[in-house]
């Protein structure tokens, strides 16, 4: 196949030339009717190792081939592909920002722009996907660093609602949805405060693993209320299955997939006691859970391993828990979990506006003992598995969504430039409000110097 026979996309050349001031003016990725072939690339497949000088091609939004050096893609008959010679550049699957508030929170301190916290302590009926703003200025900013998908969590109360997995480009909520109902979120109350007690909200409006601190009886009662909600949902489901003329309670209905073990329950827990009690509760109620937070998860590794409970480490860039804790305690947590055989992934644990720093959380974990490939998997494939979207995202493999990016280096390195990104095969505009504002004001100084 001779690339010169086919139309080419210029590397780094934006599809649109117009200068755009704000994100909501930046168009979404256009349809891609042709097969796209990325050749002469270093393919970081995550699940299949690193392929040097490989070729990856995708069509109709899906990866169709991941080929080692020398092999030629078998394109569908009669299709003219777009061929990109990447000249040794790197291709990675898009990173996944777990436990995020992307789309629900625009400006943390502006109440009107925060849509993540419904009234009351029990609102499992609320679904994040419904309120995600496809035109949030935050999405393109995250995207520009290779974060191409997110799992957005509602917050507040004990059962804040259901999380949604989304890709970060699309015209409508339907376009964005990867898995609208990823599972309910539970804020498991802590017995007593941990090391970060009293710290001010470092992430206004964002989801947090720092669960409601109650203590003593209040904790027990709050946990019982969560338990009751799941028991009631199960009872309703059993009855309703037998007699569908029964009235529908949308809260029970919302928990049905979790009760049937079709969806995981995302349980926010940091303290050792909190994690252990949540895991045992889930065992007794036959629920599939994911621990979100996991600060003390290494201390109950055996239980987590035995119960096959994965952990979402919500932020590597955190402060140690206790005054006399090792300064690098949060930095080494992923490495320790890895050594102990606990399944985990890494989230940024930060504000929606800082999701672009997700790769750096993983990079720090790598500098502090976690294998570099494992660290990258922790923000791609392993995250996809934990959130139940590995059928579509997280690796470069045949059949997966063509949600990937091309860069001149590894995304852990600050010097790396991300040059192209595709979401479901459509080439994403990597500009954002930030790039356009920078351009606008560089123009100002160019004009000033011209005087």
């Amino acid at each position: 196949m001779n690339p010169q026979h086919f139309p080419r996309l210029g590397l780094l050349a934006p599809i649109l030339a117009a200068s755009l001031a704000a994100q909501d003016l930046i168009p979404k990725a256009p349809p891609q009717p042709l097969p796209v072939v990325l050749q002469n690339a270093v393919l970081h497949t995550v699940t299949g190792g690193i392929v040097l000088s490989g070729t990856l091609w995708f069509f109709d939004g899906q990866i169709r081939g991941v080929l080692p050096a020398g092999e030629t893609p078998k394109l569908p008959d009669g299709q003219q592909p777009l061929v990109l010679d990447l000249q040794g550049k790197h291709v990675f699957p898009g990173m996944i920002a777990g436990n995020s508030s992307l789309g629900l929170v625009e400006l943390g301190m502006v109440r009107q722009s925060v849509d993540s916290d419904e009234l009351g302590e029990m609102s499992p009926e609320t679904l994040a996907m419904v309120a995600v703003n496809p035109d949030s200025a935050l999405l393109p900013v995250a995207r520009a660093n290779g974060v191409l998908a997110a799992v957005t969590f509602p917050v507040g109360g004990l059962l804040p609602g259901r999380a949604s997995a989304l890709q970060l480009d699309g015209w409508t909520n339907a376009d964005l949805a990867v898995k609208a109902d990823a599972g309910p979120v539970v804020v498991w109350p802590a017995q007593a405060s941990g090391g970060e007690r009293g710290r001010r909200g470092s992430r206004p409006g964002g989801p947090g693993a720092a669960a409601a601190v109650e203590g003593g009886d209040a904790t027990k009662k709050a946990r019982a209320r969560i338990d009751d909600a799941f028991l009631a949902a199960r009872a309703w489901l059993t009855a309703w299955t037998a007699d569908t003329t029964l009235p529908i309670d949308i809260r029970h209905q919302a928990l049905a997939p979790a009760v049937r073990r079709e969806a995981p329950v995302f349980v926010l827990a940091d303290d050792l006691e909190q994690i252990e009690s949540a895991v045992l509760w889930a065992r007794d109620r036959e629920l599939r859970i994911v621990i979100v937070g996991g600060r003390d998860a290494a201390s109950c590794a055996a239980l987590l391993r035995e119960r096959k409970v994965p952990v979402v480490v919500t932020g590597v860039h955190r402060l140690p828990r206790r005054d006399d804790s090792a300064y690098d305690e949060p930095f080494t947590l992923p490495a320790r979990l890895s050594q102990l055989g606990v399944t985990f992934c890494i989230a940024s644990g930060g504000d929606a506006s800082n999701e672009r720093n997700l790769p750096y959380h993983a990079a720090t974990a790598a500098a502090f003992g976690l294998d570099r490939e494992k660290a990258f998997a922790a923000v791609t494939h392993d995250a996809a598995v934990v959130f139940g979207i590995d059928d579509r995202l997280g690796s470069l493999a045949v059949g997966k969504d063509a949600t990937l990016f091309v860069a001149d280096g590894h995304p852990f390195d600050l010097a790396t430039k991300i040059e192209l990104a595709f979401v479901r095969g459509r080439q994403v505009d990597l500009r954002s409000k930030h790039t356009e504002l920078a351009k606008k004001y560089r123009e100002r100084y160019r004009q000033l110097r011209g005087k």
């Binding site: 943390g108 017995q191 206004p204 402060l319």
Partner: protein, 1017 residues
């Protein structure tokens, strides 16, 4: 009696004779009481350190008439004290008492209700009866009563712990002993931070001095009357009481150091009513020659009942708990005198046990007695009246049945100013023993039952039968109790007996009310059974803690000995000098006497002196120590004084917290200096401080970088507008327009202030006498320093309009701004910043956390840099501060700044902005040896900081850190086991307000200006 003593005696009598005339008319016949006693056959410990001496003490009219072996005078009533010991009465130096606050609306009161210097304890409730009795039972005879509440709280009086009544009011030993003070903060107004309290206190003391100077000027020149200050009761009180010592009630050892510094500034003598945790800053307190009233409320063992609970307890908490009983001993060993107090004890009855616990750590009997008598008496200025047993002094004694400091010792009588208060009457010990109940037993069969009496415990057995005994009351010579048992029928039998020789006689009354004569004979004739030693049996107390030196600061990462500034070289490393030389591969750095003596190509390295060490830097990188231009680390008890819109008078340097473990964590991120900034809730905030991360120095103030230019926090936009708080904002300004107006107004005020001060200073001394001195105003003085270009503004700002506004204001006043902080829209007005400020100090990439930062972009730093602005990246967060190297790396990523220039964003540039580049901020010969060694390119996430030096001292290294972790693990294990073995009692919980230690420990919130600063902490 010597002649001198006799004269004194006459004088005392004369005073007392005059006393009745002062009192109210008697309701009925006048009492006539000679008050003439002789305490005979006693052992007298006249003063601390003296051995008990057999003596008779004669008391007459409230005072000690004689102490010696002479037979008692005929007129005195003799009290037989054989077998008893008499000690000087104790002095309680601090008792807080309610005194009505004065009406704040009264014309001559102070505008701030925290200032109540004109109050006097004698106008208040003094000591309630229950407290009087409780204190007396412990042996206290004299108490200093201070008004409670406030910063300058009013005057304390020393009174006798007598029982005043309608005819005789409380007897005053010294009317005004000290001025009571504290650093209390207000819940709903100024000051709401400790630095605010300090500023207010300093201003009040200055005002008092000024008021006094005005008065003397007015006295010598009545023509000045027209300009006289408004009469003020508060300022008058401060002026009048200038010679009194200030007694500060403090909450921790750092606060103790702070108040002592203020006292020294004003040359006032001071006493600190301590927290009990003074041992944690022993050498600093010793250097300050502190006089500390030590409370003995040792903390309860932390809750370690479950693994999860133990996991939440920090090593410092455990150490503080273990070491608290050693506090007195350590202070004494450091050469500091101490007085003891009962304040802060949960239950005053615990006092004797706590005294013994302190003594178990090595406090001697003489030291203990001094802490209760002579030391507090001297500090209160009442040593002429009490503290020892000597002729002429008040007849204040404690009479005990043995050594005061042993558990079995019982206080018999407490004499207060010649009045005897019986605490525990002598009891008939002869009742103790086993008695055979021969007559009046309500049951039958099996011979006489045995009744065993041991102090307050009575048992009654008959063969195998054991009867229930209850309700034991032991009077001086008799005993009453109840006896019940199955074989005795329903109900209890009443028993009331006393001793007649070797028989017990009395009455046994049945439940039906039938009284039978009771008789018992000694069963173990002659043999007194050993008294079961309850105290020993129950005494599961732990062995006293070790007195080994403690690390500074206490906790896992402190030093027993600060690492020395050795001579060393790092060779063959990649250097990032930050002084215009780019990146030097294969370079070397040589450090000697805390300074860099060489930094350059390894080939040019000078020869090392003998004993110098060489560190192989192959594959590694050396950078200057990182400088954080926006830090809130180590600021104690409030980062923001939020009580007013303008708080230029408050100073961060007053509230340094050298114990904050975040200092250590930041060393582990290569940070060696920071700009400690006030929060941003005020248009004009407090004074900032440039501080080196000299974690572990003994004197907290040694952390400050001496000679660094002074700074001040200003703030624009939403925070001073308080736009993000809940509810409406009642305080000006409410708009960006108002912020500008307020700044303009205060600059104008500061200008006139400077003019007035300068005019007065310019006067010849003779001319000065003819005018009233101008008042020194700490707020305007500090703002005036900005106008005089001796203080830099570090201004919190986001939007371009506000940045532009301040540039204009600065230009109008002919001043250069220090830095714009955050300055997230700085990229829009880079030219104005370049002209009007030394630099811009920003976050690398934060945005969208509030409305005013919706246009923040990560290219901000790069664009400003391109426009010629000196740019730094800062943390504003304890967490980010330890990763500033990679924050700098983001300037490469966003905007393409050259790597070595990007590193300058956290080294050279902040140093320039803070005016300390001549000292630090680059690897240049002659500068302070502040540097960091990295495992890889410092701008990459691969880099780990391997070692950090401050002034040539290695204050962090991976090797030392690994060692510390082992020590911490070992110490934790030991202390957790000790806490588990601690006697069962209440366990301390973090949330318990009484355990203020714990609460204070974890108050180091991760403050940050980006978010909630509109609200007060």
């Amino acid at each position: 009696m010597t002649c001198r003593a006799a004269l004194l005696f006459v004088a005392v009598l004369a005073t007392l004779a005059a006393a009745p005339a002062q009192g109210p008319p008697h309701n009925g016949p006048r009492p006539a009481d000679a008050g003439w006693f002789a305490l005979t056959n006693a052992h007298v410990v006249a003063s601390p350190g003296q051995e008990p001496v057999a003596a008779t003490i004669v008391v007459r009219a409230g005072r000690i008439a004689s102490v010696g072996s002479d037979p008692p005078p005929a007129g005195a009533t003799s009290i037989d004290c054989s077998g008893l010991t008499i000690w000087p009465g104790f002095v309680e130096p601090f008792f807080a008492s309610d005194v009505p606050a004065l009406d704040p609306n009264a014309a001559d009161q102070h505008w701030n209700t925290m200032v109540q210097a004109q109050r006097h304890a004698l106008d208040g409730a003094l000591v309630p009866a229950t407290d009087r009795e409780a204190l007396r039972q412990l042996g206290f005879t004299t108490v200093a009563v201070a008004p409670s509440g406030g910063i300058l709280k009013g005057n304390a009086a020393v009174i006798l712990l007598d029982e005043p009544n309608a005819n005789t009011p409380a007897r005053i030993v010294r009317r005004t002993a000290y001025a009571a003070a504290s650093l209390q903060t207000s819940r709903d107004g100024y000051p709401d931070s400790e630095m605010g309290a300090i500023a207010l206190l300093r201003q009040m003391l200055l005002d008092g001095q000024w008021y006094a100077r005005c008065q003397s000027a007015l006295a010598s020149n009545p023509a000045l009357q027209a300009q006289a200050p408004q009469p003020s009761a508060v300022l008058q009180a401060i002026a009048d009481g200038w010679s009194q010592p200030l007694w500060f009630d403090v909450q921790d050892e750092l606060q103790a150091l702070r108040v002592l510094k203020i006292a020294a500034e004003f040359e006032r003598s001071a006493v600190v009513i301590g927290s009990g945790m003074e041992f944690r800053r022993l050498s600093a307190l010793a250097a300050a020659k502190a006089r500390i009233v030590v409370p003995l409320h040792f903390p309860d063992a932390p809750d370690v009942a479950t693994e999860a609970a133990a996991d939440r307890v920090s090593l410092r908490q455990l150490q503080s708990w273990e070491q608290a009983p050693t506090n007195s001993k350590r202070l004494l060993d450091a050469g500091l005198p101490i007085a003891w107090t009962t304040v802060r004890l949960r239950d005053r009855k615990d006092f004797p046990a706590r005294v013994r616990e302190a003594m178990a750590c090595g406090v001697t009997t003489a030291q203990a007695l001094a802490a209760l008598t002579t030391v507090p008496a001297a500090w209160l200025g009442i040593e002429e009246h009490t503290g020892t047993i000597a002729v002429g002094k008040l007849a204040n004694f404690v009479v005990t049945d043995g050594d005061l400091f042993t558990p079995k010792c019982e206080v018999r009588d407490v004499w207060v100013g010649g009045n005897r208060h019986v605490v525990n009457a002598r009891k008939d010990r002869g009742l103790d023993g086993a008695w055979s109940w021969t007559e009046g037993f309500p049951g039958s069969g099996g011979g006489p039952p045995t009744l065993t009496i041991a102090s307050d415990k009575v048992t009654c057995t008959l063969g195998e039968d054991k009867f229930e005994t209850s309700g034991v009351v032991r009077d001086p010579s008799a005993l009453a109790c109840r006896v019940a048992g199955k074989t005795l029928g329903d109900g209890a039998h009443w028993l009331r007996v006393h001793r007649e020789g070797e028989q017990l006689v009395g009455v046994c009354t049945s439940p039906e009310g039938i009284a039978r004569p009771f008789r018992a004979t000694r069963a173990d004739a002659g043999a007194t059974p050993a008294e079961p030693d309850k105290k020993d049996a129950k005494d599961k107390s732990l062995p006293p803690p070790s007195l080994d030196p403690l690390p500074t600061p206490l906790g896992g990462f402190g030093h027993l000995q600060l690492p020395a500034a050795t001579e060393f070289a790092i060779v063959n490393a990649t250097l990032w000098p930050s002084d215009g030389r780019g990146v030097l591969r294969n370079g070397a750095v040589v450090v000697r006497n805390g300074k860099i003596v060489f930094a350059g190509p390894a080939g040019d390295m000078p020869a090392l002196r003998e004993g110098a060490t060489t560190i192989d830097g192959r594959g590694k990188h050396v950078t200057p120590g990182i400088i954080d231009c926006h830090s809130h680390t180590g600021i104690a008890r409030g980062v923001n004084e939020g009580g007013q819109a303008v708080t230029a008078e408050v100073r961060i340097e007053d509230v340094l917290d050298p114990d904050d473990v975040n200092w250590y964590r930041q060393l582990a991120g290569g940070v060696t200096a920071v700009n400690q900034l006030h929060g941003s809730a005020n248009a004009i905030g407090g004074q900032s401080r440039t501080t080196k991360v000299r974690f572990g120095v003994l004197q907290p103030d040694e952390m400050h970088l001496q000679g660094a230019p002074a700074g001040m926090k200003w703030a624009l936009g939403e925070n001073p507008r308080r736009a993000n708080g809940s509810g409406t904002n009642p305080r000006y300004p409410n708009t960006r327009m108002g912020v500008e107006a307020l700044l303009r107004d205060r600059l104008a005020a500061a200008e006139s202030y400077r003019r007035e001060q300068a005019a007065y200073t310019a006067l010849a001394p003779t001319a000065r006498a003819k005018v009233l001195p101008p008042r020194r105003d700490l707020e305007l003085e500090a703002i005036g320093e900005i106008l005089a270009a001796t203080r830099l503004i570090h201004c919190h700002s986001y939007r371009q309009d506000e940045i532009f506004m301040l540039c204009g204001l600065a230009k109008d006043h002919g001043i250069k701004i220090g830095t714009f902080q955050h300055v997230l829209e700085g990229y829009k007005v880079a030219d104005a910043i370049a002209q009007n400020a030394i630099g811009a100090s920003a976050f690398s990439d934060w945005w969208a956390f509030k409305l005013e930062v919706q246009d923040a972009i990560p290219d901000n730093g790069a664009i400003l840099h391109e426009a010629g602005v000196v740019v730094s990246f800062n943390s504003d967060s304890n967490e980010h501060a330890r990763r500033l190297n990679t924050e700098a790396g983001k300037a490469v990523k966003y905007g393409g700044v050259l790597p070595h220039e990007a590193l300058c964003f956290v080294t050279r540039n902040p140093a320039i902005q803070l005016g300390i580049f001549a000292r630090t901020g680059s690897l240049t010969a002659g500068k302070d040896a502040d540097l960091a060694l990295w495992s890889a390119d410092p701008l990459s996430y691969e880099a780990r900081c391997e070692a950090t030096w401050v002034d040539g001292r290695q204050l962090f290294s991976l090797a030392a850190d690994a060692e510390k972790r082992q020590t911490i693990a070992k110490e934790r294990t030991r202390l957790l086991q000790r806490a588990l073995a601690a006697p069962k009692g209440r366990t301390a919980r973090e949330s318990d307000p009484k355990d203020a230690y714990w609460a204070a420990e974890d108050m180091t919130a991760d403050w940050c200006c980006r978010t909630c600063e509109g609200e007060r902490r």
